[in-house]
Symmetry: C2
Subunit: 207 residues, 2 copies
């Protein structure tokens, strides 16, 4: 009945904010533009769209046989979903939230992806919340490791070490982002954490 996913709802509203789309295209965007995340199946997406329409946040616009009615993709478009003003408002509300939900693993990615539409103080709170969440996790891992280190074999140990390093690395990343935001270079232009990297050649990254 409800089908309230959180991440999916947020991502759909955010993507439709920019331009109306039909379900099939929406799903592709979830894999590419926002593509670092999981790809939702149609069995998830379409029912979700239905409920968003029922909530009054989207409208369905059917473009049945008229080829002139679908100039967007150049091809047939069956059901185009458009964000209503109520939906826009709701999305703004979601964007303004900076509570614990935004720090969780599943939510944080989408939240970050729409930072371009997010107020700066909210961005700061989300980043800092995320960081302290990860630092707590790190401390728990360290404590647990200290207690059980002797009883673990090499592979288990290596796995834990690598896991902790991954978290530590994300903390460092967040630190850079927070610093950039603090310096005021994080609005919309001037890519955050720019250190002369080249996306096509990511050598010498760690070590």
């Amino acid at each position: 009945m409800s089908r309230r996913s959180g991440v999916l709802e947020f991502a759909v509203l955010g993507l439709l904010r920019e331009s109306p789309m039909h379900g099939y295209e929406l799903r592709k965007r979830l894999n590419t533009s926002l593509g670092v995340f999981r790809a939702f199946s149609y069995g998830t997406l379409y029912p979700c769209l239905k409920t968003l329409v029922a909530q009054g946040w989207l409208t369905e616009e059917t473009a049945p046989d008229d080829p002139l009615a679908a100039p967007l993709a150049g091809r047939r478009a069956k059901i185009v979903y458009r964000l209503t003003s109520a939906g826009k408002e709701h999305f703004e509300d979601l964007l303004a939230q900076s509570g614990p939900d935004a720090w969780e693993d599943e939510q944080f990615g989408v939240r970050f992806a729409f930072f371009g539409h997010t107020e700066r103080d909210v961005r700061m709170r989300v980043l800092e919340g995320r960081r302290s969440r990860l630092e707590e996790r790190l401390e728990r891992m360290r404590a647990s490791l200290a207690r059980t280190r002797e009883r673990l074999d090499d592979y288990t140990l290596e796995l834990q070490r690598h896991g902790m390093e991954s978290v530590e690395r994300e903390v460092r990343w967040l630190n850079e982002l927070i610093e950039t935001e603090r310096a005021g270079r994080g609005r919309a232009k001037g890519r955050p954490a720019d250190q002369g990297r080249d996306d096509t050649d990511p050598t010498d990254t760690t070590t």
Copy 2:
């Protein structure tokens, strides 16, 4: 009815292989010894244990009131689960599998955690399978990024860059592990990928 989780089943069998335990302790172990992974709730664990008993892989041993019957933890032990020989056999079968399932995100972690009980050629196949899986993913990310780079804002771009770097980092980690295995230092002693790190003092974490 079935409640066949894959990861949980594998982890439970593997943990019980070392010593019999009751459910509560089993769950703690899943968070600590194997703790890099998700923590399963009791609502998942107990039904799972029931089905494993029904399969004949575990036996329930109730130690009702006798304090002498529970020398393991020094305290009351209600239902102790013990691996049967059939269960042991089944676990060995699972350990020997090196198919695509073992390369997926959810399975790989547990598989790696039990590498100490895994044959060397199986370890190699799993590691290499995992690596090529990640390299495919990386290529898809690169292709998608090349197609959509111009249309993306700074934050989305930064998110993708960080995501790709994470995957690249894991590939490098796998490369080290594979090299170590190949050199023959990966059996049980001689910790893999040892580069003079010290687990107890992971300073230089932040900046």
